[in-house]
């Protein structure tokens, strides 16, 4: 960090501006990556694009907002210690809520459709997405809501053109361990091993004594929990939530998952960071209103030239 600080204080303006956009992009990208992991894990294991995932994330932000006011963290007399303890409690609650909800949806809606043609669970997922959005609408109403700014915005840089705030650090410090832990879990634990086995070949995994349905359930619960973490971070970092945020953030996250090669966990993280960078650099150099178009334009180009994503493996078609 220190050499970066030194460089930043002497660098020309255009460079600090560029650096600033990269910081913004990478932090937002890390958030997107967290949501993208939920898409990619579910896709990897049952080949379903879980359209409801973005809206699950939205419900998580609403829960975070409700809990913040229920714990009284938004009142002016809340001490910083109380805020820290409250936030520490909100994270696991939101994660459990979203994980349990995702698991319940899988058991009730998707499980009966395991042997159905692929279109059936996809359409069901669109239906669940509608239901979640409607719950959000009835819960908090159609207007955007602001989340109190609980994490301070103290800047680490002395250079006024460049900022890396406590908020950014907070986001980085939450997202990185989660991703690192997930990678270790998938790579080294028994559960991770069985997840990989089921995603390669469910029948063979079952023959080897793996309880396939339990593994799928765990995957949904873990993906949901990640969306829950992401939702609390989003609420604290972006400070504005509404019942439609699930749509665009889910779309970005899904794009990230596809970009990295859907089903591939490091790919989702890479895709999220790329999306964040593209969005922030595009907004800065081309114009904020074109950012979405640039993201999807790049997605289309990448998929046309590399149809299985950046890190995805090519599969040969079999008869």
């Amino acid at each position: 960090m220190l050499p970066l600080l030194a460089v930043a204080d002497t660098a020309p303006d255009w460079f600090t501006f560029f650096l600033q956009q990269c910081i913004n992009g990478l932090t937002y990208g890390a958030l997107i990556a967290l949501i993208a992991l939920g898409y990619t894990m579910v896709y990897g294991i049952i080949g379903l694009i879980n359209f409801a995932h973005g809206d699950l994330f939205m419900l998580g932000t609403f829960l975070a907002l409700t809990l913040i006011s229920a714990f009284g963290l938004d009142t002016p007399d809340a001490s910083s210690g109380a805020i820290a303890v409250g936030l520490l409690a909100i994270f696991p609650i939101a994660a459990v809520f979203c994980g349990a909800l995702n698991l319940a949806v899988d058991r009730i809606v998707y499980k009966p459709l395991r042997r159905a043609p692929k279109l059936a669970p996809l359409v069901s997922a669109i239906g669940v997405s509608f239901i979640f959005q409607n719950i959000g609408l009835l819960w908090k109403g159609p207007a955007d809501l602001s989340v109190p700014s609980l994490v301070p915005r103290t800047d680490f840089f002395s250079d006024p053109t460049l900022e890396f705030t406590v908020k950014d650090l907070f986001l980085t410090l939450t997202v990185l361990p989660i991703m690192f832990g997930l990678t270790l879990l998938v790579k080294y634990t028994r559960l991770g091993k069985s997840m990989r086995a089921v995603s390669q070949n469910p029948t063979a995994a079952q023959l080897m004594g793996i309880h396939v349905e339990r593994v799928i359930g765990n995957t949904f619960a873990m993906g949901g929990a990640l969306a829950g973490f992401a939702s609390v971070i989003y609420a604290l970092y972006i400070n504005t939530v509404g019942f439609q945020i699930g749509y665009i953030n889910g779309l970005y996250a899904f794009t990230a998952a596809v970009l990295g090669g859907i089903g591939n966990i490091p790919g989702a993280v890479l895709g999220g960071l790329v999306i964040g960078l593209v969005r922030s650099l595009g907004a800065a150099y081309v114009g904020a209103r074109w950012a979405t178009a640039i993201i999807f334009g790049i997605l289309i180009v990448i998929l046309i030239f590399r149809p299985s994503g950046l890190l995805g493996e090519r599969t040969r078609e079999k008869v």
């Binding site: 694009i49 059936a120 609408l137 779309l251 074109w290 289309i300 149809p307 008869v319």
Partner: protein, 382 residues
């Protein structure tokens, strides 16, 4: 065996068509018998016209998703392209002003061209990847339409789009039936125009279903590899599906814009519209024309006609007001409870819950749709 007299009855599709076609006459009859306002039925007729236009859009989507099995999530983009081609070719601020019939043709062909442009590079993508590329294309088109303000006037939209100018002889014939030539006052003109175009589209698609092209679409849907082994020119058939699908969407867009006399806000042509159209054809039955029409009338009829009606009933009955009053008496210092009641008692706030449940239950218990084509039924229930 059916009883023999049933063969003298027209098929129920024909009956449904006649019922819709005679709707304005029915309104006129009600007006002459009961003392209702002279505008009675006009609003309803205008909404029914919207449904006819959306039916064309849904039939277009059905060509890609239903017949060919290409999961297209960006159909609204082609609808929007049709709308804007119409706008640019007809409004005063542009020098073209070619009139309705030429713009109808141009919107159809122009959207079909865009369909080819999207289709050509995506031929080798399959399933989910194709879905995400079409979705992305839809978003790019929406953002582009919104941001190219020099051309599209952004969210203000291009207006006014002039109504169709009937040829003299047709205007005379229409006059015999009591139609004035004022499109903004008499909804029946647009109603019959849309019904006529819808009928032509249905007839064309019915023929296309049994043509060489239609059969190769179904072959590709069932097994692309096998189809190509049997000599089906897969790229050409897929491109044709993209083009026909987009062209029909453009046609519907032209009708929609001309009826509205405005290109409206580009945000109206977003992913949500694509998804709702997809829901319509899945609810009704993929690859089935009857099913698509039924799906549009059920789902969009519910959205545009039934749910506003129920909202106004609840409003008129005073349930909402008394609930809000009660909430205010319980907690006078906060509006939270009153707002919650107002939200929960507005029927249209439950719309997406109902759509979502319909989709989930449909996929669980009747995945082939309400009026499926027999082949899709075979494919899904083997």
């Amino acid at each position: 065996m059916k009883p023999s007299w049933t063969k003298f009855l027209p098929r129920w599709e024909v009956l449904a068509f006649l019922a819709i076609a005679l709707f304005p006459a029915f309104c006129a009859l009600v007006r002459s018998v009961f003392p209702v306002q002279s505008t009675w039925g006009n609003l309803f007729g205008s909404k029914l016209t919207d449904l006819l236009i959306y039916a064309i859009l849904a039939l277009g989507l059905n060509v890609a998703v239903g017949y060919t099995g290409l999961l297209q999530l960006g159909i609204a983009a082609f609808f929007g392209i049709g709308v804007y081609i119409t706008g640019i070719l007809t409004v005063n601020s542009y020098p073209f002003q070619v009139g309705f019939f030429v713009s109808l043709l141009s919107a159809t062909l122009g959207a079909a061209l865009f369909g080819l442009i999207l289709g050509a590079p995506t031929l080798r993508l399959r399933g989910d990847y194709l879905a995400i590329v079409t979705l992305g294309f839809g978003e790019v088109v929406k953002v582009t339409l919104r941001n190219l303000e020099e051309i599209t006037k952004g969210t203000k939209g291009l207006n006014p789009i002039p109504p169709p100018h009937l040829p003299d002889w047709l205007a005379v014939v229409a006059g015999w039936f009591g139609f004035s030539n004022k499109w903004d006052l008499d909804y029946r003109l647009f109603f019959y125009l849309s019904l006529f175009i819808l009928a032509i589209v249905v007839l064309l698609l019915k023929n296309l279903e049994h043509s060489k092209l239609g059969r190769s679409w179904v072959a590709i849907r069932e097994d692309e590899l096998a189809a190509s082994c049997m000599g089906v020119n897969v790229p050409r058939a897929k491109l044709a599906a993209f083009a026909v699908s987009a062209g029909l969407a453009g046609l519907a867009g032209c009708l929609y814009a001309t009826k509205l006399t405005n290109t409206a806000d580009p945000n109206a042509y977003d992913f949500n519209r694509s998804i709702i159209m997809l829901c319509c054809i899945i609810l009704g039955g993929l690859a089935s024309i009857r099913g698509t029409l039924l799906g549009v009338f059920l789902l969009l009829g519910f959205e545009y006609i039934v749910s506003p009606q129920i909202d106004s009933w609840i409003q008129d009955s005073g349930i909402l007001d008394s609930a809000v009053q009660w909430a205010k008496s319980v907690s006078p210092d906060s509006n939270q409870l009153a707002n919650a009641f107002a939200r929960l008692l507005t029927f249209s706030n439950w719309k997406f819950m109902i759509f979502g449940l319909a989709l989930v239950l449909m996929m669980r218990f009747r995945p082939e749709g309400l009026l499926p084509s027999s082949r899709i039924q075979q494919e899904l229930r083997h």
